[in-house]
Amino acid sequence: MKIVVLVKQVPDSGAERNLRSDDNTVDRGSANNVINEMDEYAIEEALSIQEKHGGEVVVLTMGPSGATESIRKALSMGPDSAVHVADDALHGSCAVATSKVLAAAIGQLDADLIICGAESTDGRVQVMPHMIAERLGIAALTGARKLTVDGSTLTIERQTEEGYEVVTASTPAVVSVWDTINEPRYPSFKGIMAAKKKPLETKSLADLGVDASEVGFDGATSTVVEHSKRPPRQAGNKVADSGDGGVQLVQYLSSEKFV
């Protein structure tokens, strides 16, 4: 089984993040850029399937040249190789264009299974698996908290508001995972050393046969008109409990008509 794992580099969600004032894109210069957390769960899932069923795991990233750092980190967990789609024309791409590029790259890899995170911590648009599946004409099983592989049959369990659903599809298919699915491994020292020598192929838009006018700012299907910092909330009254904290809390809630 050939598994492609989608890995996106994002600004660390635990630190301050900004949009650039010149072109409204993510300010990567000032950020600590890391692997999108959910994608580590996708990598782990791919590796555990490989351990059980054999085959190959390929990391696929679309992103600027600095994303190689995250790719090497992903490889240090255990995947066999990586493809990095990098092209200056991609700067400013919307989700629709991103899915076009990723689908083209996946098409060249002849994958049986594509695993990705359920959402990224920066854009959080949660659309990539279905967009890619739609383009490739294959199934999307999204939001998995459990994935089992039986020959060419994939079965997931996904949480819903009412409970959970069990959904199946045949390969090839895209599966997106939540962080409830597994516990990602830490790269070992050996893994980190090995990652430096693993094949990492860089592809341009031309290599994928995608026209530059369909991506980046030129091909964007939406635009940021303006952005601003949300004014910080004004902290209100804070009381130390000296025996009547609960009563004071209810007094406040009642003054605001909540009780």
Binding site: A140, Y164, A173
Partner: protein
Amino acid sequence: MAEVLVVVEASQAGVKKVTLELLTIARELGEPSAVVLGGPGAAAAMSDKLGEYGAQKIYAAESEEIDGHLVAPKATVLANLVTSVSPAAVLLASSQEGKEIAARLAVKLDNGILTDAVGLDADGTATQVVFAGQTIVKSKVTKGIPLVTIRPNSVTPTPAAASPAVENLTVELTDKDKLAQVVNRVAEQKGSRPELTEASIVVSGGRGVGSGDNFKLVEELADLMGAAVGASRAAVDSGFYPHQFQVGQTGKTVSPQLYVALGISGAIQHRAGMQTSKTIVAVNKDEEAPIFELTDFGVVGDLFKVVPQAVEEIRKRKG
């Protein structure tokens, strides 16, 4: 006036509140038409409610097949409808399903998509709150029509009575729409609490709650206030409360009138899911806890003393 399509979301209890909010917003952009994508009989059960909130027309695509294959069939039906009626905009809830239908629709129609809007102007400009609630973005679809998913609790739903006619759509699916097969749906005990993202009050517990058993205290306060229960990731990871109730960056985003944080420190990833709540109160024994930067009212103290006292006080007031 131009037609605006609103994709209806429903639960066992009927039309979801977020759909009524979408109808309210849609009226600013044109004449709302509700689109029901569901099993047989789905539209009839909901038409009164949809009319009450201003739906001028109801498109009903009803078929067993729509329900059993995740979102692909719904996107196909919707794409056909968009092509035939050329609406001014398409609005969906910013739920997993809403975003996923919109995702496929965007690709089918080669149309832009904006997700997680908290507001939408008459000219189609959407407001998004991003980066853990710290940045406000105004954005527009520049290719095709505004295709926007909107977060629950973004506006107050207001009635505007109409008496919509129901128009049945033919559901024609291809094999490609049926690749994913739902083989089992397991209902879990839900109780009578409101849904987390739609609730007007959310009471959440964190690691400070200490155990799954102690979460009964959080539930008790929530039930007295008619609130939904939420949890921090630390509480979920410690096994105190199920994952579907996690609030934050990798959980649900809530925007209630009131958010009550009990034993939650207020990490940036938690804030990502609750920062836009109208009023925030917290109980935390650490007076330096960052959650107090957000609170309209904070109690520095032991939640095991403060919360039972608050519960008792509310009971007393209720008489």
